[in-house]
């Protein structure tokens, strides 16, 4: 049984049909074609597929796509504004905080969720923000440093 699903993806209305019971990750990738979201486990244990749903971090692989009807979803594909990189993206580059790059989209979204609500995070806040995201390459330190850099670099929100 196919069901229709409609939501906002990176500020654009999108709609697709998917098998009922599909997870959001598969719908984003296979249905909508947003390949910036990566899948690492489909078990909810690696954080690779992290996206923001109404501003909050969610594991798209264990999120029922139908539960996102009408919601607003952010993926790394929408992170930069035109040609301008998000401060997190710049900081990740400057800190060389990616090697294979596969966990990076999820890491960035987990970090964005933190900075959106806590513009001045402590190291402990950052460690907590990314603790559900597995990275097998970097040893985490460059990622933590990049998120702290991005917080310092970002224009202060009110």
């Amino acid at each position: 049984m196919k069901t229709s699903i409609q939501f906002r993806l990176n500020d654009e209305e999108v709609a697709t049909f998917a098998d009922s019971g599909s997870n959001l990750l598969d719908v984003l990738r296979e249905g909508i074609g947003d390949l910036s979201v990566k899948g690492g486990c489909w078990q909810g244990t690696c954080g690779t597929c992290t996206v923001l749903v109404d501003g909050m971090p969610r594991l798209s692989c264990v999120t029922l796509a139908e539960s996102c009807e009408g919601k607003s979803i952010e993926t790394v594909a929408g992170l930069r504004q035109g040609a301008k990189l998000h401060p997190l993206q710049t900081a990740f580059m400057e800190r060389f905080a990616a090697q294979c790059g596969y966990c990076t989209p999820g890491m960035l979204m987990a970090a964005k969720a933190l900075l959106d609500r806590e513009p001045n995070p402590t190291r402990e806040n950052v460690v907590d923000a990314i603790c559900g995201n597995i990275c097998r390459c970097t040893g985490y330190e460059p990622i933590i440093a990049a998120v702290l850099d991005a917080a310092r670099a970002a224009p202060r929100r009110s």
Binding site: C41, T45, F96, A98, P142
Partner: protein, 341 residues
């Protein structure tokens, strides 16, 4: 409760490239008509930075800015054979192949430039900024772009090069083990400081201090990536990882990242790193390979530091807190653990 601090050390070396050699890699380098170069490979970038390292090696060899080189990999229709991305062979083997290809391409580029400037190619040099000039006379110059245009549209030359690097295969003497396993070795020494909780057996790694010798750091940032990530993986092997926690019983094998244990971002520690460069005679600009050796010293250094802290030897990996606690119960909790140093 008592927490005991300990310090351990390990020194290691690591062979570069496939054991016994016999593991070739090829590269093709060519210019487009406006002097921008493409490196065609079939080598794999699985995060270690293959594309970036070979790009810098190619730019250095050609004598042009790195921005003017793009590495295209890995398509079996366009990229020539490479044995693969393993055995710390990327920088050394593929780097050498790219260097050879770039040298050949550079020779054509210099010939074409010489023809345009009406001088001998041997009198020319590159400035690394996209220009070629007569040695000692920087005003007698031509841009790489103009050379490429001239080569393609006037001279009918292909500014391109082929490269292969092969360490010839060595045989092994079955009786003595005599062989030529590798042409060069990377080196490392790591000192680990940690703390052991003598009531629970839990180990907290506090600090790593390491020196790595890797011939030449083609890109120090990429080297740092390998060394930091590799030490994390070494710590993980030492203290956490196993797919068979009850071996030889295969019950309870982890099925996911919750059950397969690896250090989290709250388990990492500061790491002071020093890099030494003793160039390998056959390495590209002397480079060896940092990718594998960096994980190895952490396992024994951690095991040795645990002994230094609480006087127990765990010779079976991973060194789980349970194993430490069991050993402590056998040995008795040390009031003053025997010092190694």
């Amino acid at each position: 409760m008592a927490r005991h601090r300990g310090r351990g050390v390990a020194t290691i070396n690591y062979p570069i490239g496939m054991n016994l050699g016999g593991d070739p890699s090829q590269a093709l380098v060519h210019s487009n008509p406006t002097g921008k170069f493409t490196v065609a490979l079939s080598s794999i970038d699985l995060g270690q930075g293959m594309k970036s390292v070979t790009r810098q090696i190619c730019a250095e060899t050609l004598g042009i800015p790195v921005e003017d080189v793009y590495v295209d990999t890995a398509d079996s229709d366009t990229g020539p054979h490479c044995m693969g991305s393993f055995a710390s062979r990327g920088t050394h083997r593929v780097g050498n192949a790219v260097m050879a290809a770039a040298r050949e391409a550079r020779a054509v580029m210099m010939e074409a430039a010489a023809e345009e400037l009406e001088v001998d190619p041997g009198d020319l040099e590159t400035d690394g900024r996209g220009s070629i000039h007569v040695k000692g006379a920087p005003h007698r110059a031509i841009s790489v772009r103009d050379v490429a245009i001239a080569a393609q549209f006037r001279q009918g030359k292909t500014i391109s090069g082929r490269g292969i690097f092969l360490v010839p295969l060595s045989d092994v003497n079955p009786e003595t083990g005599e062989m030529s396993p590798a042409t060069c070795y990377a080196h490392a020494c790591q000192i680990v400081d940690l703390e052991v909780d003598d009531e629970t057996g839990e180990v907290t790694v506090l600090k790593m201090t390491s020196a790595y010798e890797l011939g030449r750091a083609i890109n120090p940032k990429l080297v740092e990536q390998q060394l930091v990530g590799g030490s994390w993986m070494g710590m993980s092997h030492a203290l956490f990882e196993t797919p068979e926690p009850y071996y030889p019983d295969t019950r309870e094998g982890p099925r996911d990242f919750n059950e397969y244990l690896m250090p989290g971002p709250g388990d990492i520690c500061p790491h002071d790193i020093v890099v030494l460069e003793r160039p390998a005679p056959d390495g590209p600009f002397g480079a060896k390979g940092p990718g594998e050796m960096c994980a190895n010293p952490s396992l024994p250094a951690i095991a040795n530091a645990i002994y230094d802290a609480v006087g127990v030897r765990i010779d079976e990996l991973p060194i789980t807190p349970e194993k430490v606690l069991r050993a402590l119960k056998v040995r008795g909790r040390p009031e003053a653990p025997p010092r190694v140093r």
